[in-house]
């Protein structure tokens, strides 16, 4: 090989090198696996699926124990929740799913040029933020969701007081209603699998949610005039066709979240709590078999049989088959159950309460009867009329609130368990401790003193370790600001 060839070879190598450099370095680093852009049409469905998951798997599946609808049961070691032991890690999932999955996408939608998307987004933001504050009290609100450089790079959002959050929620829901009022029904299509783009229904949802928000502070701050105005002017979720439901299916990829969560684990091993069954028996309430399954074997064959709250039933053989007891019904637990965000009976309960408290334009007794009846209808249980009559709704405001509170708690069983726990806390009023000194049972292994029940969730471990503005950890017996 002579020099000439070597130079040729070197030249080729050098050329190769230069060619390999010609592509701009910064172009190489454009992520091929993720999109640089998105639009409302593809963001909204993700939000709705996330909201369905959050409400059912993060909230309902956790709250049905503390609402005392269900308990761990026979043959199972007691879980922490039954002993009222909470660990901050327990709440990371709900917190993260809500802020980092759903709310951030809602923020994207809330900046849409379409008032339809903006209105839906703000209504759902209000819905989720209310859920957060109802469990944790003070939460990041005004500075939240602003991590992006363009949003100010707020990496440690401050926590706003729960009262401030409630003020903000009222404003936010008003904005949602204003946007929806001018929205065109054609903007959102079938990608909205809650209402199919029906703006009128979203407006009902927003008004119903506004009523929920305004009434929640009833024990600490009256919103009487706002509520009256709302009842006078608003359209609400009134019937089964208006109910806000995220649909799920019995098929891979779309299973009901609570079902998926439990089936992924060891299955649904919860049993009917005697706290609920005792109350149902006392009221001769026919809905028991709609909430729970009957025992299919053993001494209580064909009947409802529960377990005392938080007690491993050691009076019977440890290995009694679960079929000897009552578990969940198909309505409460199933692969294709939709997740209800706000039900028609919930709204009727809110309207009954508003009418009883503030003498709105609704008739409270009629609204109350509607509420119970709509729940019976949903559950497919007959005899609503006689049952409602047997409740003798009436009397003093406290008596009315007690009746509404207990019936609302019963009606949330199996469908809106988390709202059931929240409202049980609100209706459990000073002088009328209808749950904590009435219905609820003290778990024998509770780490709290007898008669003391959880009233909030701990701040999630991840938020506390990562956010320098997070407050000191609380106790689960601390009450949320609206809870007396």
């Amino acid at each position: 090989m002579n020099m000439k060839h070597i130079f040729k070879a070197s030249a080729v190598l050098l050329m190769l090198f230069l060619v390999s450099c010609s592509e701009k370095l910064e172009d190489i680093n454009i992520d091929p696996n993720n999109s640089a852009t998105a639009n409302e049409k593809v963001i909204l469905p993700t939000v709705l699926a996330n909201v369905g998951y959050i409400v059912d798997a993060d909230l309902n599946a956790a709250s049905f124990l503390w609402a005392q609808y269900y308990t761990w049961g026979i043959g199972v070691a007691l879980g922490n929740q039954e002993r009222f032991v909470s660990e901050p890690d327990d709440f990371d999932g709900y917190w993260g799913d809500t802020y980092a999955n759903a709310l951030i996408d809602l923020k994207f939608l809330s900046k849409s040029s379409s008032p339809a998307y903006r209105g839906v987004a703000k209504a759902l933001q209000a819905y989720l933020f209310q859920g957060l504050t109802d469990h944790f009290g003070d939460i990041p609100y005004s500075e939240s969701l602003s991590g992006e450089i363009a949003e100010g790079s707020i990496l440690a959002p401050k926590f706003d007081a729960a009262a401030t959050v409630y003020t903000g929620l009222a404003t936010l829901i008003d904005e949602a209603i204003a946007d929806l009022s001018v929205a065109s029904s054609n903007d959102i299509g079938s990608e909205d699998f809650v209402y199919g783009g029906n703006i009128a229904n979203w407006l009902k949802f927003a008004n119903s949610l506004k009523l929920r928000i305004l009434l929640r502070t009833s024990e600490v701050k009256s919103n009487e005039s706002a509520i009256k105005a709302l009842i006078d002017n608003g359209v609400f979720i009134e019937s089964a066709s208006d109910v806000a439901v995220v649909p799920f299916q019995d098929k891979a990829g779309a299973f009901n979240p609570m079902y998926g969560l439990f089936e992924r684990g060891v299955g649904d091993f919860y049993f009917a709590s005697n706290a609920t069954l005792n109350k149902l028996n006392e009221l001769i309430d026919p809905r028991g078999t709609a909430f729970y399954s009957v025992a299919t074997s053993g001494p209580f064959l064909g009947q409802l049989r529960g377990v005392d709250q938080g007690a491993v039933d050691r009076d019977v053989p440890f290995t009694d088959p679960s079929a000897n007891y009552s578990g969940s019904s198909d309505i409460a637990y199933g692969p294709d159950n939709g997740v209800i965000l706000i039900s028609d009976w919930e709204v009727w309960f809110l309207r009954a309460e508003a009418a009883a408290r503030y003498a709105t334009s609704d008739d409270d007794a009629a609204a109350f009867a509607n509420a119970v009846e709509h729940n019976f209808d949903y559950l497919g249980v007959s005899g609503a009329g006689a049952y409602i009559a047997s409740l003798n709704y009436g009397g003093s405001l406290d008596q009315k609130l007690n009746t509404i509170g207990i019936q609302k708690w019963i009606s949330m069983n199996g469908t809106q368990e988390d709202e059931g726990w929240i409202e049980a806390r609100r209706f459990d009023r000073p002088g009328n401790r209808i749950f904590t000194e009435g219905i609820f049972q003290n778990p024998p292994n509770s780490v709290l003193p007898a008669g003391t029940f959880p009233a909030s969730w701990l701040y999630p471990a991840s938020e506390r370790s990562l956010n320098s503005n997070a407050p000191a950890q609380r106790s689960i017996t601390d009450r949320i600001y609206w809870d007396n």
Binding site: N29, R83, I104, L466
Partner: protein
């Protein structure tokens, strides 16, 4: 002082000191006792010398003042032997090791060891192959200072993580760069299965596993800044330089080496289990489906232990029976005796400027777990040619094909695919050895004894699949052209192409309702067995690395005393990866057929593509003075694709000095201090960012909830969805910067009877590109920023002692020890954030964090609450200890020090070696302990004989704030099952002392071999023979605590497959 000098004088006298002129005679032999013909003998410091004759004997006259003979022979270590009182001096030379070592340095430059300005340590083939290892990294244990190795699993083909001088990057990759013949390889780990520590993951190894250990000539560890700066960004965590074998022009025209070994492996079980109480609960109730060992005390009464099933169709139920008692060797018998056969052959030779080497190896391993195997075939070819007086080339190519079926690891037995976890979480009276026949009606899906989602572990091992097929192609070509005297141009091109195909599957399982035996053998039914719809996932990955370097090298001697060389060049590296995953959806249609077209619903797919490039310009200059002082300067500038255009260029450099004091002050005649070198270096190195961190993105069709068969994902209800990505992009990233200072000495004493290498280093890793976990209230989970700072400071020491060289003819005895202590500290994260989560929370609630002021990888967990007197405070309602309100910190996974020691003894062809290694300090989280306690199988669950007890040394707090002694009785079952112990109970000491290797080989005398065989040796060896653990660790091997793989989360034990103890024989032949 007087005393010391007296001692020294005596010692020196004993070693022999200056004598009058005389003649010394003797025989020079090799370590096989064979005479060496033509070995050269030189009296040190004089011109007197001779060579040995055909008998290996010599006679040399020693002038006055001569006190040392320098004996050398090609291919053997050069030995300096003190001339004693006797005029007869027989000398044994050791083959294969060169004392005046030539070491490989950055970019493949060979240097005399004395010239290197930084710590480096080379392990040669002899030491690497002292016992047979499947993977050369494994062979480094205990033999090198400051190299920390950990393994993800004891299953076949598992990956090995290698960290030099401690973790340097808070969230980046801390694995050392592996460079083979100048070309960095892709050493990524490949994981299959569910890829999580609990649900299960399969460790398909890292790609260094694909290199045949017999092809490796030496391994050099480069840790300091001047060593790594030349490898740029990728070398910032240190470099492991591998030099592969080449053919030689010396000796026979063709040399053939054959190496065969066979070993058997058994599981080294460290988990201790109680043997007093069996299946059931409440100390009194028996339940044949129960995984708890909280039942009645063993009574030896024969009872059924499998589920009653009608095995013969006669309508009656049958079950197997055995005495109700603990099963001896229960865990041991679950495992098989594994075996490994390795065969390799290499042809090499050369003539007329041309050399070649061709090798083939085959490894066939059957793992200790049923149906796990690892088969590897490698083919490697290398050739070098001197094409003209000025032009030479070197070329090598290797191909490896690996075929593996492994087991999934992870502690989640009941919904996972983890066979051994299923065993660990079973009562102590189940004879697992008898369950092997998982198709027997007594042990199949319906007959298997266990309830609650449990599955016969042999069914898991045999019917679930975790198959990996890996092809690894490594090519390397270089050309060197001598342009003019002292000036060379070098071009080198390397490529590494790895293709990986991993198939994972689970079969459909639809069990009937189960019958179980309860008290008094009453039957009850239960519907809790695992149900699966079946799944098949196929993962295909291709990684392509290209590396190109062009360099000019210039050497010039300004005077005989002053040497100078300089090199400068360009380097470009590009890595492209792509993978495609397909998985069935909604279960399988036809059981037993694993293909995407067997999916119930449309199969799902996902894809990932990456591309990375870095360009560098580098230079290195060296000045030598009188062969005792060396000054070296190296510098590099990189342009990386992962940094923003404005900041993508970064420069770093290093300077180092070495002084051979013994030459400088002409102390070479000293018999005490025969060699002393001081070295110091200071430098910086840079590191670029991870891929695609500069801008925020949206994710297409996200998964809403990962719930296995029950996952919720898009398209959902046939509607596609996008979501805001979880990371906030940072367009302002800058490169990371590491500044290292190191100083050290290499010392030889008493004619190298004692040699010591010591290094102190201090590294400051700043401007770290840290992935910050964000509070979720920001709407995101993470971002990256340049903020973190971490330091590593440490000492490294290697000591070699040859106590009696030449005293006993043919005896060559060496003792060695290595020691490395690294102190790592996270100095700073950000102004707002003082802690980063590196991994977790892992069951039962332990998180690994980087916390300011503490070492990287500190454990964080809730602990039992104590009062000022150190007593545990219990809950007055329950008698169980209360927890601290905040999580506490419990040490890190990093050890206080790692060390190794051992000895090599050669005598007349026999060679014996023994190696221990030690890791002191560091913690790990044991999920074996957690699950064992919950199930009542660990020994500590019987401390109180299953009777009621009062938690000791404890108090409860009264309403007035005073404490009363605890008097509340609790039960062991209640304590370990109803009550969740504070997670800190599962953080335990990870220290160990291991008898790592023992080997005995015999090199057959040449006279037995005839003329065709030039060398033959036979050896027996054992590995992992004995472990000594702290008393509190009755659970697991602290080294098997992945899931190391590619992440930084270490110290998490998830009931992984145990380490294997192995015994083997090997035969080496050379023709």
């Amino acid at each position: 002082m007087k005393k010391l000098s007296l001692v020294l004088t005596l010692v020196l006298f004993a070693l022999g000191f200056a004598m009058a002129q005389r003649t010394v005679t003797g025989v020079v032999t090799d370590d096989g006792g064979e005479p060496l013909i033509g070995a050269s003998i030189l009296v040190k410091g004089t011109s007197s010398g001779t060579i040995t004759d055909v008998d290996g004997s010599y006679s040399v006259s020693v002038p006055a003042g001569g006190n040392t003979l320098i004996v050398s022979y090609t291919g053997y270590e050069t030995l300096e032997v003190a001339i004693g009182v006797s005029s007869q001096l027989d000398i044994t030379l050791r083959g294969g090791v060169v004392l005046d070592e030539v070491v490989v340095t950055a970019l493949g430059v060979n240097r005399n060891a004395r010239e290197t300005v930084y710590a480096n340590q080379t392990v040669g083939a002899d030491d690497l192959l002292s016992v047979t290892n499947k993977n050369t990294l494994e062979a480094l244990r205990g033999k090198t200072a400051g190299v920390r190795l950990s393994t993800g699993s004891g299953s076949v083909g598992a990956s090995t993580r290698i960290v030099l001088r401690g973790e340097s990057s808070l969230t980046g990759n801390n694995n050392a760069l592996i460079v083979i013949d100048g070309i960095p390889i892709d050493n990524q780990s490949t994981a299959g299965g569910a890829e999580s520590s609990t649900a299960g993951y399969a460790d398909h190894g890292n790609r260094f596993n694909d290199i045949n250990p017999d092809d490796i000539e030496s391994v050099t560890i480069l840790k300091g800044p001047s060593a790594t700066s030349l490898y740029g960004s990728r070398g910032a965590s240190g470099v492991v330089l591998i030099k592969t074998k080449r053919g030689s022009e010396k000796g026979r025209s063709m040399r053939v080496d054959v190496n065969s070994s066979y070993s058997t492996e058994t599981a080294y079980i460290l988990l201790q289990r109680q043997d007093r109480f069996g299946q059931g609960y409440d100390n009194s109730h028996f339940d044949s489906g129960e995984n708890w060992s909280w039942g009645p005390a063993f009574d030896g009464v024969v009872r059924p232990w499998t589920s009653p099933v009608d095995t013969d169709g006669d309508g009656a139920l049958e079950a197997l029976v055995r005495p109700y008692s603990a099963v001896p060797n229960q865990l041991q018998d679950f495992f098989n005796r594994g075996n490994t056969a390795t065969n390799s052959i290499a042809f090499s030779g050369g003539s007329n400027g041309f050399t070649y080497r061709l090798s083939y190896s085959n490894l066939n391993q059957n793992g200790i777990l049923d149906n796990t195997y690892y088969k590897r075939n490698t083919l490697a070819f290398s050739a070098s040619a001197k094409l003209s007086d000025r032009l030479s080339s070197d070329f090598s190519v290797s191909y490896a094909n690996t075929n593996q079926n492994t087991a999934q690891e992870g502690s989640r037995a009941f919904e996972g695919n983890n066979a051994y976890a299923m065993v660990v979480q079973s009562p102590v009276n189940i004879p697992f050895g008898e369950l092997r026949d998982y198709t027997s009606p007594y042990h199949d899906v319906n007959g298997y004894w266990g309830s609650y989602s449990s599955v016969n572990p042999y069914l898991i091992l045999n019917e679930y699949g975790n198959e990996g097929k890996i092809n690894n192609f490594l090519g390397n070509a270089s050309l060197r052209y001598n342009v003019a005297k002292g000036l060379d141009l070098v071009g080198r091109f390397g490529t590494n192409l790895v293709t990986t195909q991993i198939e994972t599957w689970t079969p459909p399982i639809n069990p009937d309702p189960q019958l179980v035996w309860t008290d008094d053998l009453v039957l009850t039914s239960r519907e809790t067995k695992q149900t699966l719809v079946g799944n098949y996932t196929s993962f295909s990955q291709q990684n392509l690395n290209l590396d190109f370097t062009a360099q000019a090298e210039y050497k010039h001697n300004f005077s005989p005393d002053i040497t100078f060389d300089i090199s400068a060049g360009v380097n470009t590296f590009q890595r492209q990866t792509q993978f495609l995953t397909g998985s069935t959806n909604g279960g399988l249609v036809v059981p037993g057929w694993y293909n995407l077209s067997n999916s119930n619903l449309a199969a799902l797919s996902s894809q990932n593509l990456t591309k990375y490039r870095i360009l560098g310009v580098l230079g290195n200059a060296r000045l030598g003075y009188k062969n005792f002082a060396f000054l070296e300067y190296s510098a590099r500038n990189d342009w990386s694709s992962t940094l923003p255009a404005a900041n993508n260029s970064f420069f770093y450099n290093a300077v180092g000095l070495s002084l051979v004091l013994t030459d400088m002050f002409d102390m070479s005649n000293s018999n005490v201090l025969n060699f002393a070198k001081l070295r110091a270096s200071y430098g910086t190195s840079g590191k670029d960012a991870g891929l695609y961190l500069l801008s925020s993105t949206y994710t297409g069709n996200p998964t809403i909830a990962a719930l296995g068969d029950f996952s919720i994902f898009f398209p959902f209800n046939d509607v596609p969805g996008f979501t805001t990505g979880n990371a906030i992009g940072n367009p302002d990233l800058k490169p990371e910067l590491t500044t290292t200072f190191e100083i050290g000495a290499d010392v030889g004493l008493f004619n190298d009877r004692l040699s010591v290498a010591y290094t102190y280093y201090s590294a400051d890793h700043s401007n770290q590109i840290v992935e910050i976990s964000l509070p979720r209230s920001t709407g995101f989970t993470r971002t990256v920023s340049n903020i973190g700072r971490m330091t590593n400071k440490g000492h490294e020491l290697t000591v070699t002692v040859k106590p009696i060289p030449g005293v006993v003819r043919g005896l060559d005895w060496e003792l060695f020890a290595t020691y490395a202590k690294n102190v790592n500290r996270v100095e700073k994260i950000t102004d707002e954030i003082s802690e980063l989560v590196i991994g977790g929370p892992f069951t039962p609630g332990v998180t690994l964090v980087a916390k300011e002021g503490l070492p990287f990888g500190t454990f964080k967990a809730l602990a039992p609450l104590t009062n000022d007197a150190g007593q545990v405070i219990v809950d007055p309602n329950t008698g169980y200890p209360l927890y601290t309100s905040e999580e506490q910190y419990f040490g890190s996974f990093q050890p206080d020090f790692i060390a190794g020691f051992g000895t090599n003894i050669g005598y007349k062809g026999f060679r014996f070696n023994i190696l221990f290694d030690v890791k002191q300090g560091g913690n790990f989280v044991s999920q074996s302990k957690f699950f064992g306690e919950f199930n009542g199988t660990t020994v500590n669950t019987t401390t109180y004989n299953r009777e009621e007890f009062v938690f000791p040394n404890a108090v409860y707090e009264n309403a007035d704030g005073t404490f009363s002694p605890n008097d509340i009785a609790i039960t062991e079952q209640g304590y370990f099952t109803e009550y969740d112990l504070a997670p800190s109970n599962y953080i335990i000491d990870a220290s160990f002392l291991k008898l790592r290797e023992i080997g005995l080989s015999y090199q057959l005398p040449r006279k037995w071999l005839g003329q065709h065989i030039s060398d033959a040796s036979l050896s027996v060896f054992g590995k992992n023979l004995r472990f000594w653990l702290p008393e509190e660790n009755a659970y697991a091997d602290p080294e098997i605590n992945g899931p190391a793989l590619n992440g930084n989360a270490n110290g998490i034990e998830t009931t992984q497959t145990p380490t294997a103890k192995s015994y083997g024989v090997s035969l080496k032949l050379s023709f």
